[in-house]
């Protein structure tokens, strides 16, 4: 038995050494890091490890059970593939960010308490945004800021939920929470932002296509799947998740049909696939949870494969839009084959990995008698075939020949894709090893004639529809355009709201402010010498009357009076600006006596009236 450390520590601290190394040594070190991490992981026995006392609470950095272990395995595996794919990149910050991102995801997966979970959750956000910014374009900078904005908001929502939860229960242990009070709802929504739930999703198709070619493999893997993990841990069997998941599977496929940017197509496809997982968590039976977890495992591999193949296309051609690509099978045949393997896997063709995982979730919905959900999931399966299964490989590698002739992808990229493609087929043909790792004992046989023929019919006749559409020319043409999504609310409506605040509201506020400062000024002026207030007021009133009088009857006398009153008013104004001086403004003492007398008279009068 060797001494083990928390899985997150190897990645996060290991990443810090990367900038110190050079050349081949660095390459070897990058590849070794996930391998060392994996050896460490398989030597950790199940149970609770690395408990650290912090104030009055216990932080747990190693809650190891079948659920967290499986996520741990696939995270290590995909980190190895992703870093192999990125081996040619000279930009250290991307490697560091990638490993910190993967490490913090592992941190969340093995966290046994809410505090350390939150800590790693936030590290994930900030390391992921580095992978977007590393593209160093104006678009990626803006998209990265929007990504940060959404995730910090989601993180704060989660934090608020955690604080309330800890106050309510007195415990920071992270386990089953269930939707019962405000704290749970806040945590639920905090998780939902990272899971790209409908309406909370637009950060995903916005930021992911702007990430770097190699960073994309990390991006497409970690954030959403970690969110799936925490949902599976805290909210299994929550009915709301069934519908959220089913809607997630269905709505992005419409967007994927009309989207021009192939990496954005894969972003919508990611939401669709995560929908199957969320739905499985919501159903909450042993079969559906198994389905979710195995789908996470398979999905990470085939989605990474598709993203890598599109990345290779982008690396060689610098283009990613359907309108610019086509005919690349001629110059990138291996990438093309790998892409088709990924496409077949995600569509769930028999003998490919998607078939053995997705069908568990669909079967679980059928066993639960959920007609609507079952139809939605089946409909979405056809949608997956359309956008990820056919559109992505077809427009990149076949379709009309774009005339682009380039080289095959670099060796390290081909190897990374090759490993992923092999695993997609291997898991599809031999699902046994994966099934043996699932949280619950598996009582499901994917390869019955009924399943195979049913799924094949579904997919092949869907493909027939596609062929008929293309041959008849009805299929929606690729158009250079973007499609509005929910991010419109903070990219356009937000700006409009800001303008509304700025122009009408702010100018109204300015007017009032002006009025107030003016009146304060005049009051201050008058108060310098209050003696002139009556004089000013009377003269001002007389002037007004004289002016209106003279405008009606234009006699010389009236006009003369106006000019006289004006000069008098000016004089009083001048006088009032001087500070009160006893020697100039002295009044006979009798005036003071008279005023006091009048006041006493009124006082006596009021007293008399009110007494009766």
């Amino acid at each position: 038995m060797i001494n083990t450390v928390p899985p997150a520590a190897i990645f996060i601290f290991g990443a810090l050494l990367i900038p110190l190394l050079r050349g081949r040594l660095k390459g070897a070190y990058l590849l070794l890091l996930p391998v060392v991490g994996f050896i460490n992981l398989i030597n950790i026995p199940e149970g609770t490890h690395w408990v650290v006392r912090f104030l009055d609470y216990e932080l747990i950095f190693g809650r190891v059970d079948r659920l967290s272990l499986l996520f741990g395995y696939i995270y290590h595996l995909i980190s190895f593939i992703a870093i192999l794919y990125a081996l040619h990149v000279k930009d250290d910050i991307q490697h560091v960010a990638g490993f910190v991102y993967a490490g913090s995801s592992l941190g969340v997966v093995f966290a046994g308490d809410l505090f350390s979970l939150y800590l790693f959750w936030e590290i994930m956000t900030f390391s992921a945004v580095v992978l977007v910014w590393s593209n160093r374009t104006k678009a990626s900078l803006a998209a990265g800021f929007r990504y940060l904005l959404v995730h910090v908001a989601g993180g704060l929502c989660l934090l608020a939920g955690i604080v309330l939860y800890v106050i309510n229960t007195g415990s920071i242990e992270f386990g089953y929470i269930g939707l019962k009070d405000l704290a749970a709802y806040l945590i639920f929504i905090g998780f939902g932002v990272n899971c790209a739930w409908p309406c909370l999703h637009p950060w995903l198709p916005d930021a992911y296509p702007e990430s770097t070619i190699t960073g994309a493999v990390f991006m497409w893997t970690f954030t959403t799947k970690t969110a799936v993990y925490v949902l599976a841990r805290a909210f299994p069997g929550t009915e709301a998740l069934i519908w959220i998941g089913a809607i997630m599977t269905a709505f992005p496929i419409f967007y994927a049909v009309i989207e021009n940017n192939l990496r954005r197509v894969l972003s919508y496809s990611l939401i669709n696939q995560v929908g199957f997982m969320v739905c499985g968590i919501g159903i909450g039976t042993a079969l559906s949870i198994n389905g979710t977890v195995s789908h996470v495992f398979c999905h990470i591999l085939y989605k990474a494969l598709l993203v890598m193949s599109m990345g290779a296309v982008m690396y060689r051609t610098g283009k990613i839009n359907c309108t610019d690509l086509g005919g690349l099978y001629k110059s990138m045949p291996l990438t093309c084959i790998f892409c088709i393997v990924g496409a077949a896997s995600i569509s769930g063709f028999p003998l490919f990995s998607g078939f053995i995982s997705k069908s568990m979730v669909v079967e679980a919905s059928a066993i639960g008698g959920m007609n609507m959900i079952w139809f939605l999931l089946m409909f979405s399966s056809v949608g997956v075939l359309e956008h990820a299964g056919i559109k992505v490989p077809y427009y990149a590698f076949f379709s009309h020949d774009s005339g682009i002739r380039t080289k095959e992808a670099p060796l390290n990229m081909l190897l990374a894709m090759g490993i992923a493609a092999f695993l997609c087929v291997f898991i599809g043909v031999f699902p046994g090893p994966l099934y043996s790792l699932l949280p619950y004992p598996v009582d499901f046989e994917p390869y019955t004639p009924f399943h195979v023929v049913g799924m094949s019919q579904l997919l092949f006749f869907g493909a027939l529809a596609y062929i008929l559409f293309v041959l008849s020319g009805i299929f929606p043409a690729e158009i250079r355009a973007i499609n509005l999504d929910a991010d419109w609310w903070y990219r356009k409506a937000g700006i409009a709201f800001y303008r509304f605040c700025n122009v009408p509201l702010n100018s109204f506020r300015l007017k009032i402010q002006h009025l107030l400062t003016k009146s304060v000024d005049s009051i201050a002026n008058l108060s310098r010498n209050p003696l002139f207030i009556p004089n000013l007021a009377v003269t001002y009133g007389r002037l007004k009357i004289a002016k209106s009088y003279s405008s009606i009857i234009k006699s010389p006398g009236a006009i003369e009076e106006v000019t006289e009153l004006e000069s008098r008013l000016k004089h009083f104004h001048e006088m009032s600006k001087r500070v009160f001086d006893e020697n100039i403004h002295r009044r006979p003492i009798g005036v003071g006596v008279l005023i006091s007398f009048i006041l006493i008279f009124f006082y006596a009068l009021i007293y008399m009236i009110t007494r009766k």
Partner: protein, 88 residues
């Protein structure tokens, strides 16, 4: 001039020949027929009654695909389509 010569030199690829595309489609259509016939000979274990109907999955797959394309093309696209520089 040079370009023309290169274009002539470039080798003809698999799907440049319409014959090969036709062959592929032919194989595909045969597979479709096969899937429909095999449907009658397999043991079914449906969860819903409609799953047992012959050819249900084939019809569903076809209809769902058609519905998806029509909704995306004729309803969603006119609503959400904008110029590429819309947000700039």
């Amino acid at each position: 001039m040079n370009g023309e010569i290169e274009a002539k030199k470039e080798k003809e690829y698999l799907f440049d020949k319409p014959k090969n595309v036709k062959r592929l489609l032919g194989v595909f259509y045969i597979l479709l027929l096969l899937l429909l016939t095999i449907d009658f000979f397999i043991l079914k274990h449906p969860n819903f009654p409609w799953e047992g109907w012959p050819g249900f999955y084939a019809v569903f797959g076809f209809v769902a695909f058609v519905a998806l394309i029509f909704v995306a093309k004729y309803i969603l696209r006119p609503i959400v389509k904008r110029k590429e520089d819309y947000y700039d």
